[in-house]
């Protein structure tokens, strides 16, 4: 019995096989409401199905390869085979099924497809981490996969899948809602910083205030997001009626203003707690030495406290950003727009593929934010 060198790969390939044999790869339904018929990966043309299965077998075998470098490179290739096989396979099967069906028919992606996607992406992440790839190598690998995906999309490989059709139907508003989503998150982070930084300074100077501030922010954090969005409608519309200039600024009971306010409130606890901890963990003796050497308060902050607290600050900003990206989806409920619009429209119309048009970009945005902050954190930690 050969020795297992990478348990993660073995587990992933096992999951992949289980998905292929147990779950439906695609689901064909005559209309949105009918439950439809599942079809397996093996309905796909031989070449694509074979690529996916070969990739899976490759990952299984690679988990026994002792050489780290070889295993990492080969795993990325095998995962690319799985990705291409299942993406192209899904597109082909959809194309085969659809011409014979009515325009109301739906071809949705099934569990086996999503499992194969997850397995191959996780295998790539595992390979990149174990292979200790540098920043540029990681970036390059990510770029190659993204470009490949977009080329397939442009070639029309996915056009018959109902996820792609929902996306194409909403193409004109997609970019607007995506930018709106990013705008909500960005504005909330800016406001959270504007309030959070002075609040951090307050709790750092007056330790007696810390308890009160953290309990209040903690209470805010426990309010369910839908409730907070709803609760803000009444006072915000009252304010808007009372003060016409607020109304002129576009501040109403519904729309972006209460959404940004709610997202800001949710961001405050992780932000202030992270910043407070970050600054209070700068070693006492380093601060004492800096004072004794003749640093004034400004030099102390810029040259000592800020660089030493930077990793903690970035870590809490990462939490804040990822949390806000997720929560902003709910803002669509109070008319603030954003990617949540597609999610709630999809739920309302029982169009699950439309839900994915909103949900998938939210997940990708969160992953992207994570990547950006990981990179910044790496830079900040370089000399610590």
């Amino acid at each position: 019995m050969p020795k297992v060198e990478d348990r993660v790969l073995l587990l992933l390939s096992g999951l992949g096989f289980a998905g292929v044999f147990l779950g439906g790869f695609l689901n064909f339904a005559p209309n949105r409401l009918a439950s439809g018929v599942a079809s397996s990966l093996f309905r796909a043309p031989d070449f694509e199905a074979a690529a996916a299965i070969t990739g899976l077998c490759g990952v299984t075998l690679l988990s026994f390869v002792p050489d780290q470098k070889l295993r990492s490179y080969a795993t990325i290739l095998a995962a690319a085979l799985i990705l291409w096989g299942s993406l192209a396979g899904a597109g082909r099967v959809a194309a085969l099924l659809m011409p014979s069906a009515s325009p109301a028919a739906r071809v949705s992606l099934g569990p086996a497809f999503w499992i194969l996607m997850s397995v191959s992406i996780l295998a790539i992440v595992d390979a990149v981490q174990r292979g200790k790839f540098g920043f540029f190598a990681r970036f390059g690998i990510g770029a190659v996969f993204c470009i490949g995906f977009f080329l397939m999309a442009l070639a029309g490989d996915f056009d018959r899948l109902s996820l792609a059709r929902e996306f194409l139907d909403n193409r004109s508003v997609f970019l607007i809602e995506l930018l709106r989503h990013i705008g909500l998150v960005g504005a909330a982070i800016v406001f959270a910083l504007l309030i959070g930084v002075p609040l951090t300074m307050l709790v750092s100077r007056k330790k007696t205030m810390a308890g009160f501030v953290f309990v209040s922010l903690g209470l805010l954090q426990t309010i369910p997001s839908i409730a907070l969005f709803g609760v803000l409608i009444a006072p915000m519309s009252k304010l808007s009626e009372k003060f016409p200039f607020l109304h002129a600024l576009g501040i109403n009971g519904t729309g972006p203003a209460p959404a940004i306010l709610a997202l800001t409130l949710y961001s405050l606890l992780p932000l202030v707690r992270g910043f407070y901890t970050g600054f209070s963990e700068v070693a006492m003796e380093v601060k004492e030495a800096a004072t004794a050497i003749g640093f004034d308060a400004r030099q102390m902050f810029i040259e000592v406290e800020l660089p030493l607290a930077a990793p903690a600050l970035l870590a809490s900003l990462r939490v804040v950003a990822i949390q806000a990206i997720g929560l902003a989806s709910v803002a669509a409920l109070i008319g603030a727009g954003g990617l949540g619009t597609f999610i709630f429209q999809g739920i309302g119309q029982y169009a699950l593929d439309l839900v994915l048009v909103g949900a998938l970009p939210v997940i990708l945005l969160a992953l992207l934010a994570n990547l950006v902050f990981e990179t910044l954190l790496g830079l900040a930690r370089r000399n610590l």
Binding site: E285, A292, G294, F295, Q299, V304
Partner: protein
Amino acid sequence: MIELRNVSKNFGGVPAVYDFSLKIESGAFFVLIGPSGCGKSTVLRMINAMIRPDKGEIEIHGQDIHAMEPERLRRGIGYVIQSAGLFPHWTAADNVLVVPRLLKWSKVKCAARLDALVALLRIDPALLDRYPRQLSGGQQQRIGVARALAADPSIILMDEPFAALDPVSRAALQDELRAIHAHSGKTIVFVTHDMDEALRLATRIAVMNSGRLIQTGAPASVLQAPADDFVRDFLGGDALQLRLLDLVPVRSLTKAGKTGTTETIAAEASLKNALNLMLARRRSSLCVKDENGARLGEISLSDIVARHDAT
């Protein structure tokens, strides 16, 4: 000259330093010694205005330190603490040059100063590009001392700088510091609770207890005439006479003449070293040589004993 007049400081109602007066002459190696919590660090930190006294005046070179901007005052005073307190995000070289940089020295002047400090403290130049976490405790403290000396201040404050080091690093840095003091004529105010360290380094000692100054004087005079039982106990009680031997060089009791013994000792070694060697080799006399190895004469056990009977 540093002068403290009737200085008092309370922390939360508890007196840390009480009605404390002290003059430290320029060029002194002044050691403040006392048990933990006696207020010696508080006194040290009042000299560079890190702590402001509740009452009393502190003057440096006849100037009230509180009339000065504290940052300017501190840039003119070197400061070393126990854990070195190096900036973890800067290289050793950047740490050493932090005060010259605050004083806006030119690059050329900084580089020249760095070279001089590396030679003075015998720092391995390869260490200069490393970060503090890549240095041993002894290496870190060497950089810490270099940082304190960097802008060539006339006064250096040291708060138990070598307490956390291993005995070998500690002895090496003590020797380095004593040599630097002897050559530069800087005023060093040094806080410690280690009597042996105090006796090795000090030109003057001040013994503190419970926030008060108990006795000051040259190390030998304090050892010979402790002001009270506290000082006597703190100095080592029964072992006090042995401590005194540590302060006197062999040269002072060397008599010309031939000896039969082959055991030799350096003229600059202390009487304590001589006694130790006599006990170890079971001899009652030793042959004394100078640093070039030339014979100076002999030292005998009876002379060591007689010297103390006389004092």
